[in-house]
């Protein structure tokens, strides 16, 4: 049965929502100073659109229509006494004035001058949704909801938890923000770096959840990669002077560029050196390199995201595994280890050192990591050690390590691969 005009309009409305909801919520949050209420008002406007647009068609400026409708509903809320007294006052003031006019706020705006209102509102919303007062899961859920326009069901499917869990997470998050009186503004000065760090952490978390998805999973999981990329690109547009924003975008674009080559024909994971490079997405790869250039141009010394992107870019630039500039990668890992002296960074440094300077050099570093509690159950440590031992002809030791790695991994196909390598070591 062909779709009715109503079906098409409904689809168009949801498309408009995808495009406009974040800016709508951001603009309303600027008015009402509360993201929870802003979201409710935005939802009211969506309901009105679903009721009215099928008859009259999608208006010429859907964003403006939604905003005007949301403000109208705000007045209704006021009259019905739905809001708490404090909010009544703020809302009443804001609506009567119908523009930003509170003393110091105006002065700040004049001084800041250059940013346009919409950009500032959206940036404020990003910072609030990622506020460190919230738990990491709460920040992720709130970001996907307020900025991604994702439904509770979609978020639940993406994170493999129940809908009620996500719903509760968001209710608590909004309450926490309210109670903590988190201001709706872009952090500046001393606050800026840790707040931005929190935003980048959330975006990267969303990306990695999506990246970790495997073929059988709900389609919402890999969609998280696209959403994280989108959020990163938006942030790069709103905060172009922040090198770590460009660094993170570069890192995500470059990782995403390899997604098509990561899995073999039977679904087994394929490591980077063995990947079919013709399956690397050139559009994403070039975007990643461009973002890296933007990070470098922003001046400040490379931060951790930029460094990781630089390492990824070394691989991206090599037309074949054999052409990889491992010496450069080792130098980059050494720089990264100075910023983030984590055992995992050192492990990656060890693997790169083995490629640049031979297996014995890499093994020396790995051996120094064996006592690290953080790596105790990490399958990639014995796996890397086994690989180097095998290359050095120490096959009995290699076999034992491959078996240890196989026992530690959660991924069934990876376990098979490791056990196969263990068997291959038996004389």
């Amino acid at each position: 049965m062909p779709p009715t005009a109503d079906d098409e309009t409904r689809r168009a409305i949801h498309a408009v929502w995808s495009i406009e909801s974040a800016r709508l919520i951001a603009g309303l949050a600027r008015l009402v100073r509360d993201v929870g209420i802003a979201e409710e008002l935005a939802q009211d406007a969506l309901v009105a659109a679903l009721e009215q647009w099928p008859a009259g068609g999608v208006p010429d400026n859907p964003g403006a229509w939604l905003m005007a409708t949301a403000k109208h509903h705000a007045v209704n809320y006021l009259r019905r006494g739905t809001l708490l007294a404090r909010k009544h006052q703020e809302l009443g003031r804001a609506l009567e004035a119908d523009h930003e006019s509170e003393g110091s706020e105006t002065v700040e705006r004049i001084i800041d001058g250059l940013e346009d209102d919409v950009g500032d509102d959206l940036l404020s919303l990003i910072f609030v949704a990622c506020h460190p007062v919230l738990s990491r899961e709460a920040r992720v859920a709130l970001t996907l909801r307020l900025l991604g326009g994702l439904g509770t069901d979609e978020i639940a499917r993406a994170f493999l938890v129940g809908e009620p869990t996500i719903a509760q997470r968001m209710v608590r998050a909004k309450r926490t923000l309210s109670e903590a009186r988190v201001p709706f503004q872009v952090p500046r000065g001393a606050d800026r770096v840790p707040r931005l760090s929190s935003v980048l952490e959330v975006i990267y978390l969303i990306f990695n959840e999506g990246y970790a998805a495997s073929a059988g999973d709900d389609h919402m999981r890999p969609a998280l990669c696209e959403e994280a990329l989108r959020l990163g690109r938006i942030l790069a547009g709103l905060a172009p002077d922040e090198p770590e924003v460009h660094g993170l975008v570069a890192l995500m674009e470059l990782h995403a560029s390899r997604a098509g080559a990561r899995t073999g024909r039977s679904g087994e994971p394929v490591l980077l050196p063995d990947q079919d490079r013709s399956r690397w997405d050139q559009i994403l790869l070039r975007r990643g390199l461009a973002a890296l250039e933007a990070a470098r141009a922003s001046g400040a010394g490379p931060g951790p995201y930029q460094l990781q992107a630089e390492i990824s870019a070394c691989h991206a630039r090599a037309l074949s595994a054999g052409e990889t500039d491992w010496a450069h990668i080792v130098a980059l890992y050494e720089e990264l280890a100075r910023l983030i002296p984590s055992p995992i960074v050192h492990l990656n440094r060890a693997v790169a050192t083995a490629m640049a300077d031979g297996p014995a050099a890499g093994l020396a570093i790995i051996d120094s990591l064996r006592a690290e509690p953080a790596l105790r159950d990490y399958h990639l440590l014995p796996a890397a050690r086994a690989d180097l031992l095998a290359k050095l002809g120490r096959l009995d030791e290699a076999r034992a390590e491959f078996q240890r790695a196989a026992a530690l991994t959660q991924n069934a196909r990876q376990r098979e691969q490791l056990l196969a390598r263990a068997s291959a070591c038996a004389g």
Binding site: R11, V16, S18, I19, C225, E226, G232, R233, G237, A259
Partner: protein
């Protein structure tokens, strides 16, 4: 999801460059699409006099240089969008057509990064 959107204006191609107004409106829309994080690439074509058509037919190549005045609705440009759904791509393209002028944009879903 990635969509290739190929624009063919109804108006025949002309030598006249775009007006200041047209460039500003298009610039504004492209800016919005960038800021929304959905635009991967977009380019306009130079007149068909600078292009050619390459055909393989019956095992034989033939190359025809532009211009192609007899063709209705020549390709004028493309956009590569990354969005959550086809309706979203269509909504953006409607906004694009409003600015670019009457004609048709063919919106095609591309092979994408596979899951995992």
């Amino acid at each position: 999801m990635r969509f290739l959107c190929i624009y063919r204006p109804s108006k025949p191609e002309s030598d006249a460059p775009p007006t200041q107004q047209e460039m500003e409106s298009m610039g504004k829309l492209i800016g919005e699409m960038h800021k929304a994080g959905v635009l991967l690439a977009a380019e306009g074509c130079l007149p068909s006099s600078k292009g050619s058509r390459v055909r393989l037919d019956g095992g034989k190549f033939s190359v025809t240089d532009g211009p192609f005045p007899e063709t209705k609705e020549l390709i004028a440009g493309f956009a590569l969008l990354q969005v959550k759904s086809k309706p979203e791509a269509i909504e953006w393209i409607k906004r694009f057509l409003t600015v670019a002028g009457e004609g048709e944009s063919e919106v095609r879903l591309l092979h994408d990064m596979p899951a995992g």
